[in-house]
Structures are given as C-alpha cells and as structure tokens.
Symmetry: C2
Subunit: 194 residues, 2 copies
Amino acid sequence: MLSSEDKILDATRRCCERWGIERVTVDDIASEAGVSRATLYRLFPGGKDILFEALRVRELDEFFTRMLTEIAGAESFEDLLVRTIVTATLELRADEHLAIMLATEPGETLGQLTAAGVPRIIRVATTYLTPLVTPYLDDRQSAQLIDVLARATISYFLAPSEHFDLGDPVSARSFIRPLLSVFHPHTTSLNDSL
Amino acid sequence: MLSSEDKILDATRRCCERWGIERVTVDDIASEAGVSRATLYRLFPGGKDILFEALRVRELDEFFTRMLTEIAGAESFEDLLVRTIVTATLELRADEHLAIMLATEPGETLGQLTAAGVPRIIRVATTYLTPLVTPYLDDRQSAQLIDVLARATISYFLAPSEHFDLGDPVSARSFIRPLLSVFHPHTTSLNDSL
DNA sequence: TGACACTGAGACGGTTTATGTCTTAGTGTC
DNA sequence: GACACTAAGACATAAACCGTCTCAGTGTCA
C-alpha cells in the first residue's frame, strides 16, 4: 500500500502531464490521488509549489538511486565515470515523464534542467555520487568533477552532439579520458591545471 | 496571408491540443493567434463555444473537400462507395489532431464523433456526397445510404473489427457488396427491404 | 484630405473558479 | 475510551476569466 504522500505525488505527476503545470489545480491532484484537499494541504502545506518541489526532489532521489545500482561494480576511476554518464544518459532518454514534459512545457522543464533546477540537481548528484568518487579524489575535486559531469550529461542529453554520444560506452570513454588528465586521482587539483 | 478568422481557428486547434478543451481560455486563443481579444469577439461573437463550433465546421468541410478529390474518378456505384469509405477511413487514421484529441479528451471527442456531433457530420456528409450518389439513387435513398456509411465508417475507425478493415479496398468491397443488394440503384428503396 | 473600416490595448464590472483554512463527523487502531 | 487520521464540505479571500466597451492608431479608398 502506497503512502498518501506517494499517492499524491504520483497524482501530481499524472496531472501535470495531462493539464500542464500552469493549468493543474490542487483539486485535480487531490481527486486524482483519491484524497481530500484537506489531507493534501496537511501533508504538503503550501499547495502546488511545495508539491512540485517535493515531486522533483523525489524524482531526483529515485533517479540517482536507480543509477547507483547500475554503476555499483565499477573497478577503476575511469570505468566509474564512464558508467556514471552512460547510465545517467540512458536513464534520461528512457524517462517518459521527462519526455512528455519537455514536449508540452519546454520552458518550465528546460528551466528545471538548465537553470533554476540546476543547483538542486548538482546538490543531489553530489550527495549520491561523492561516496563513489572519494576513493579517487578529495572532496573538493569530487564536487567539482560531479558538477562538470552533471552539466555535461544534461547538455549532451538535451542537444546531442555529432562528436560524442554519452549513451554509448565507447564514445563516453573517449569523452571522459581527456578529463582524467585534468582530474588526476590523488595527484593534482583542478585549480593547478587551470 | 491567412484571414484573421483562419488564424484564430488555427490557434483554437493548437490551443485545445495543448491545454484541453476545458482548460483553454479565450485569452490563450487570442494571443496564440496574435490577435486581440476584442477582435476575436468581433469575429466570433459568443466566445469559446462558437469558436469550437466554427472549428468543427471548418474541419468537416476540409475533410470532405479533401475526400472529394480522392473519390472523383469512381466509375461504378460500387467503386464509388468503396472509395468513399476507404478514403474516409484512411483520412481519419491520418488525422493527427483527431488522434491527439482522442487521447487527451476522449469524452468530448467521442461525443463529437458518436453522439452530439453526429447530426452535423451526417448533414455535411450528405451535402458533399449526395451529388455523387444521385446518379445511382434517388434523394431519399442517397441520404439513407450516406447516413449508414458515415456511421459505419466512424464505428470501424474507432473500434477496428476482425472482420472488416475499411481502410483496405478489398476488405471494404466485401463490406460494401452486401449493402448493394439493399440499396438497388434505381430499383428498390431501402424501406421495401426492411 | 477626410470618411471609413479594422485593429490592439486595455479598462470595467460581473461571474466563475481556485485557494487555503477550518470545523465536523466518521473510521480504524492501540 | 483516547488517539490519529481522514473525507466532506463550509467559508472568506484571491485570482482568473468573461463579455462589453472605449479609445487611439493604422491603412484604404474616394
């Protein structure tokens, strides 16, 4: 049995696919979730804005949780980075909800991926991925690397390049390798190289 | 250069694909059309309802206009009927706007195809097709035949059958042929056979 | 030039819809 | 029986939408 929170967030997702972020109402979401409006406001005080925030947080958490299981067995630093961006790219491409939102509400959705939402993405990515990277880099370098890779992954997802296909392990490796000379594991910091 | 009416109807179409019939506002349509609200109300007094009515009328007209060019060269009564339902079926299947509306607003759209909108469909179909049928049938028979074929075409479009594929000329012919024994060109009337 | 038709912008009052809070009564649990 | 949780819905407030209207700007034709 799903918790009321999850039912409501699921309903939020379906409703904003259907009506769009602007047009959806709290009533829509409540009745789609099979929950009274009072309950919704009790669980998510603040209404629509809070609801969408919570939804984005949940989806980011799910995104990186799924990712962690995929990239678990990496055996080298390079392998870890390649798996990370390949998995992230494939997951982004397979995300139907994201595709629908990009098609129907490009403005808001792109904003979440490239502007307003970027800090949250970076924060969550750092939280999830830092433990995997710290065997190879110090905290500062880890954070910098994750920042760069997250932005690159998003960019290549949104606007495919003729030079790299980050969904393909071979191509992704050719993208990662030059970066390794910048992020020397346990030797130099990024700043030394800039 | 499109007339303001056409710009507005095009905008209506795009808007109700995007926001849905219920959620769309006159402001949406006006700004999508690049026209002021005042102009819209001047050209379509009555607002949304009148607008959708006008849109449906226009689309029906376009539908049958396109159809007439396809079924022009029919050489026999049977051939005419087969071409008619095949062309109509294929056109329905190729109609992206219709597909979107069926997916996003099935209730209203189905109503327009099967209930509330049927009289208009029959009326327009009769207007366009009667001239082609009158060489073979009298007016009353023509109207009855068109009525039956229109309903059948819609039904088989909405719910494909395992027995007939009205988009396929061969199958459509096997569907039409039994009807010919009911609608004897210039011999018996439908009522005689019932 | 002046009459005319048409338009965009936007003000207006009235109506509908959505919001957020609150109360009440019902249900299941410990 | 106390407790937590919920649906339903009343309520006032706020926002959005509607339909009409005025006004000023633009282009056209005589």
